[in-house]
Symmetry: C2
Amino acid sequence: MTTDIADTDRVDETGDAESGLRAGQRRVKQRDRTTKTRDDILLVAREEFAANGLSGARVDAIAERTRTSKRMIYYHFSSKEGLYLAVLEHAYADIRKVEAELRLADGDPVDAMRRLIGFTFDYDEANPDFIRLVTIENIHRASHMRQSSSLGRLNTSIIDTIAAILRRGQETGVFRREVDPIDLHMLISSFCFFRISNRHTFGHIFGRDLGEATMRGRHRVLLQDAVIALLRDPHAAGTTAREGA
Amino acid sequence: MTTDIADTDRVDETGDAESGLRAGQRRVKQRDRTTKTRDDILLVAREEFAANGLSGARVDAIAERTRTSKRMIYYHFSSKEGLYLAVLEHAYADIRKVEAELRLADGDPVDAMRRLIGFTFDYDEANPDFIRLVTIENIHRASHMRQSSSLGRLNTSIIDTIAAILRRGQETGVFRREVDPIDLHMLISSFCFFRISNRHTFGHIFGRDLGEATMRGRHRVLLQDAVIALLRDPHAAGTTAREGA
DNA sequence: GTAAAAGTGTACGAACTGGTTCGTTAAGTC
DNA sequence: GACTTAACGAACCAGTTCGTACACTTTTAC
């Protein structure tokens, strides 16, 4: 069920030398058309799944909004779950690509860390559908994700970036605290993610519109400051006070 | 559709003086039985909804695991959504109750803040079903919550607690930074919530079992330290570095 | 040119699911 | 004891949903 995604630009791989150029061109054209059909379905499906969840999504509804028919969905993706998985893989492939393009190797470590946090914050803000898909997959205990080969654990580029910044900060002496990079990534992600994922309940209960621009800016800085303060903190880990509870 | 929850112990309210004692006792007994039936359904329903979401949950499945029948579900809760809403109200009522019981008025502000964070952390850890329900309600854009009168915005007891601790810390001089209490609550909640809600995807991608005890302890302290560091931070808000991105 | 393979549309069906109908039992009231 | 009302059970119904059978066209391969 591993669907090859995001290979729109990869034009040729099966040796075309044997056949004539014309045939090759035609083949490419056909392939492009197929890819377009698939991408079209994928795009609509992402919206539908993000909006309604796996069981809430309707295959007929997806088909209707597509330029093709339900038959094609099953032709290309075999089943509703197959389609869902393809959507999920697609979404993760995107964020991985963007994360890998982050270039924060040089410059002030504090500044680099702020930028990294800002990036995560902005990405989540700009991609609520991704947030929802991840949320939905968690409802299903990541069971589909586990079935996927493309969603293995090759996702560590952002962790490497964080680790590099931390190392540099420690060498410079600005970061006096040692923190596990994955833990830190979680601290950052959780806040960015939560703002989007829990926007509705949190907003309702506390009477706030988390989409508002001023709040967005304030929260962005808040997270940046919190992380930087943590990393700078002269107080050693957890030794400040013994907790009674 | 406002279902009276958590009134198991409230025994009498409709004037019983007119009827005999025996009749009254019998009535109470009957009421108790009804309450038990409702609570039984509610308990099973919470698990089912938490496990499968609103559309994923099956009314028949709930009925089967209950000591009563599907007929009773519709008798007591009118509809699937009615039941779902009752479950949600029940869950929120619980956390509100527990939050209201927090007594952190006196003692060292730093210590109080650590305890408060520890409390939130532990609550989320102990109540994954609550986390899942909130997640699910967010998938639905809090549309059910909005229909509920009992889920209005009277939920601020924890915010008051946070505000009180902050004030005291500022008076003492340990907290040099002014932070909006709701923002701070969000910062704390997000991390605690994320650890549970995104346990599966995050765990899979980074190859970590977030349920592990050592990690739990480490994360608990990490969050506490981060918040304290933020509040202590001598650097003024967001003035540390101008961000290019 | 022709055979195989890939792609596509329509219509349909089997299974499921939320919700109801009808009838029964038990409890409370006079 | 007659009557009213709440609590309950089993079977059932109508609408929906995923998935497919069948028939057809287009593309590719040689």
